[in-house]
Symmetry: C2
Subunit: 240 residues, 2 copies
């Protein structure tokens, strides 16, 4: 197989992906490409790329953004790694929907996992919000109010406004979440996401950002993240 | 006080609001208005409106959407109740920022509380997402990816797409949340919102909506809510 193929796909359950590479690795020919489409974490793909690239073989971290069972070959994928651009050039014309995010193995899978915190989190928020709105008899009013405020500003500005505002106002919002949680209990809706929201905001309130920024909302959200997690990517030791 | 005033404001901590009304109620004159600006739940305001309106006094449920300490008289407020429109006409010209949501007391406060599940929940999601993105070294890539997908469709369509999709795909998304949670642990980020997301989605997966809709995504999100909570506003007895 490896003797004939120019592009080899690693498509196995991620629990056995490392083991599956053992017999493949010595047979890879320089100048070919290995496309890792497993649902592994970015760290796992970064680790698997090292011996592959050491043999002169291009590594492609492909993160599938939907189920193959529904989309088939058209399943959208994020790509990263040394072979990402060449793979996109070769396979995009065949009907695949590919986006290169960077040249570093692991980035595509990390982006996929991390953006899921937000996208799947939104579906949970919508569920809790609209189940409560329906119980309170204000479903359409809440829908209109949320749509109006979300369409007032471009989404990039919304992210920045929420993340900079929270540096100064986290404490007050924790207090407001107590009332929100009481309201959900009255309506018979378990405050699953609301309790998580309160806990996340409590962490920020406890971090003393209000004092750090002297009560003035920072301009860019990166300043807030920097203040919350000064070491950032350099260490994963402080649990946040 | 009540003898001279045409518009009376009830502005006390919500724990003592009912008690504060005891001496006020008998002194209210027909044709005047009582504006309840307490941070009470919609249910509490609805209850307080009954004896007030029985005396021929207009009731205004005013839900303040920001702190008076920062905004002063310009604090934005949602209004509902029998006196909402008249109050807006009289006070908007004085520089207040008022929006009437309905004629029913309680609606304004219910909208405020319920939309907070979403808006404050978003700030928590952004926190967890971008702390993780920073730790994974993909902060800008995640920002760009989220902004691009959120600006593809109007927000009203996004709400509908997320809530209808979840009817069919909740089970698969629960499985994906396991991987997301593992990734957060690897990065040293406590999966506070991610665990809540998984739990909310598990509830939907367990409700058998996939079978109910015979595997076909419903068109409107209202169909999904109806299937999850058939009794809706008529009962708050089933905990959701």
């Amino acid at each position: 197989l490896t003797a004939a193929a120019d592009t080899l796909f690693l498509a196995v359950p991620c629990a056995v992906a490392d083991k599956a590479m053992d017999p493949v690795l010595p047979a890879l020919r320089p100048g070919t490409a290995l496309v890792d489409v497993t649902a592994s974490s970015g760290e796992a793909k970064k680790r698997r790329a090292v011996p592959v690239e050491a043999r002169g073989v291009a590594f492609v971290d492909a993160a599938l953004m939907g189920p193959v069972s529904i989309n088939g070959i058209r399943v959208p994928a994020l790509l990263s790694g040394s072979g990402a651009a060449a793979f996109q050039n070769a396979f995009q014309p065949l009907g695949m929907s590919l986006e290169v995010v960077s040249e570093r193995a692991g980035d595509a899978s990390a982006v996929k996992m991390v953006r899921s915190v937000f996208t799947k989190g939104m579906s949970a928020l919508f569920l809790e919000t609209f189940l409560a709105a329906r119980r309170a008899g204000v479903e359409q009013l809440v829908f209109d109010s949320i749509v109006r405020s979300m369409e007032e500003t471009p989404f990039a500005a919304t992210i920045n406004r929420y993340l900079t505002g929270v540096a100064i106002h986290a404490g007050r919002r924790v207090a407001e979440m107590h009332e929100v949680i009481d309201t959900l209990h009255e309506l018979g809706i378990e405050p699953i996401t609301a309790e998580a929201t309160k806990k996340r905001l409590e962490r920020v309130a406890a971090a003393g950002l209000r004092e750090h920024f002297k009560g003035i909302t920072p301009k860019r959200y990166a300043e807030m993240l920097e203040a919350l997690d000064p070491a950032g990517a350099r260490t994963k030791d402080t649990m946040l």
